[in-house]
Amino acid sequence: MRRKGYMRRNRTLFFMILPAIVYFIIFAYLPMTGAVLAFKNYNYLDGIFRSPWNGLKNFQFLFAGGKIYRVAWNTFAYNIVFIAVNQTLQVMTAIFLTEIGSKLFKKVSQSTILLPYFISWVIVGGFIYNIFNYEYGALNNFLRMLGREPVDMYSNVGAWKYVLVIVNAWKWVGYGSVIYLAAITGIDKQIYEAADIEGAGMFRKIFSITLPLITPQIVTLILLDVGRIFKGDFQMFYQVTGNNPLLYETTDVIDTFVVRSLLQLQDVGMSSAAGLMQSVINFSILVSVNAIVKHVQSDYALF
């Protein structure tokens, strides 16, 4: 009797989790098997699985095109700079927000710097255009006011590296600082009181107490980012640059390259080859970084 009740219970539980299982099979595992497209000469009629194999031709074509080197390097370099800049600013913001005296200032400041997280990249793209467009942009307005020559940002390829780093920080530092705020709030106040009695100054307390105690969070967040080091934020790169071909040299990343090859060139073979390579490299990096961390300091590992 008990056995039967147990079975029925588990059957109900199974039906309750079934929608999620089906969802991941369709939207995550089927696309994984669909990655065989990278080795196929896809045509719409035959579909993913009946299209003929063509070995490594897609990869040869991808490398022969030469662009993949540039976009892979761009993706990697941007992510390295994003991690360094954002983590630094997030930790600074969190420490400053915790330590400043004025509650009102803290509240206003925290609310405002979190605001960019809430708006879509389309809106951000609009902002960027408002700042940099040649005729009416805020930047050129300002320069004209100072009596200087206006600049044409859309023909200045190199400047966009800095724009993207700044925009990325602008969008995410508010969000990231909340995570560190939580970590800092969790630190035992008695440690600071003991340090006060010992006569430790403000900076000493930050460098000797706060930073060491939030290191696990810093390491975990950096690890998460390192696991995505060859993944570019498509929406950001696409919208901030307005998908402007003149700027591809410095702003094209793997993800924008893949989507463009897919939608504009309709090159399923090459874009899926690039996509598969990206997935495999990201996966290998994440797993090996995690393994190393597990070996050195198992508490910091992700899984």
Partner: protein, 297 residues
């Protein structure tokens, strides 16, 4: 503690207040430019460019916008529809899965957890997903194409699962079990009401994702009637940009009236308006959500 502030405390305050003030202003400025631009007369923008305070106050842009509101209202309707439907469906599937995964009597729960988690560390990529959606699921110009890709997020399941197991004692579930309540009944009448705070938090994150989505629309939708708000705005902004570049390159076209800058600003304001209005009320849920995610994710 009654000593006067030390030198390094003062130095720290200068740096902290300075840094936060600059950062805060940078985050607020673009929004202020949009609000000001939307309420400026077209002529004043053309003469003076964007500014913080309108040179000449005008609601002309909104009047233009309201003169033929059909497309915008339709885009608004689509966005509200996918946001409400997607969030409601997503919340139910997510919380059911989370409830099951924290039930210790459920066999293979670790296997299923890994089955879910693995999708976050390895993915098939956009190309197979796109072809699956178009070729096999018939999602081109289908409203579901705007809902399904964002429906379930593994991290929300993980957060929900640990929130349920840390806030609801096992004994409560066990006693309901002894009283003869079935699993779905326990979930629906005990777990859901007791999980309201986390449901609200996760629901808001989901709703925000749907509200801000334009990428799925770009991939799967080109029928005008199905275009959501963000993608509508994107198309409008990029068409105006293209037109402007064309006008500036071809001298013969300079007689063409320039597209309205203030209109763009008004349209942007209409798109972010609901977020700006709701922001003060929902901010705390997002902050607590980010914190919960950081601890448990």
């Amino acid at each position: 503690m009654h000593q006067k502030p030390s030198k390094d405390r003062i130095l720290f305050s200068v740096i902290a207040y300075g840094f936060l003030a600059i950062f805060t202003v940078c985050c607020a400025l673009p929004f202020l430019f949009v609000i000001s631009g939307a309420f400026s007369s077209e002529q004043s923008i053309l003469e003076h460019g964007y500014s913080l305070i309108p040179h000449a106050f005008s609601t002309a842009a909104f009047q233009t916008l309201l003169a033929a509101p059909g497309d915008i209202l339709n885009a608004y309707g689509i966005t509200i529809l996918i946001t409400v439907a997607g969030t409601a469906l997503g919340i139910i599937i997510t919380s059911m899965a989370a409830y099951v995964l924290q039930r210790k009597c459920f066999p293979h729960r670790n296997v299923i957890s890994f089955f879910f988690y693995f999708t976050t560390i390895f993915e098939g990529g956009i190309v197979p997903k796109y072809i699956l959606m178009i070729r096999y699921l018939g999602m081109k110009n289908n409203l579901l194409a705007l809902i399904l890709p964002l429906l379930i997020n593994v991290f929300y399941i993980i957060i929900m699962r640990s929130t349920i197991s840390s806030t609801i004692p096992d004994s409560l579930i066990e006693s309901a079990e002894i009283d003869g309540a079935g699993e779905f009944r326990i979930f629906w009448t005990i777990i859901m009401p007791l999980s309201k705070p986390i449901l609200a938090t996760i629901g808001l994150f989901m709703a925000l994702e749907y509200w801000n989505d334009w990428f799925n629309a770009m991939l799967y939708v080109d029928k005008k009637a199905l275009i959501p708000l963000q993608y509508y705005l994107y198309k409008m902004l990029s068409q105006i940009t293209m037109l402007r570049q064309l006008v500036s390159r071809v001298p013969q076209l300079t007689s063409v009236t320039p597209p309205e800058e203030s209109f763009k600003m008004a349209m942007t304001l209409v798109t972010i308006g609901p977020i700006l209005i709701l922001y003060p009320f929902v901010q705390k849920y997002f902050v607590s959500g980010i914190m919960v995610g950081a601890v448990k994710g």
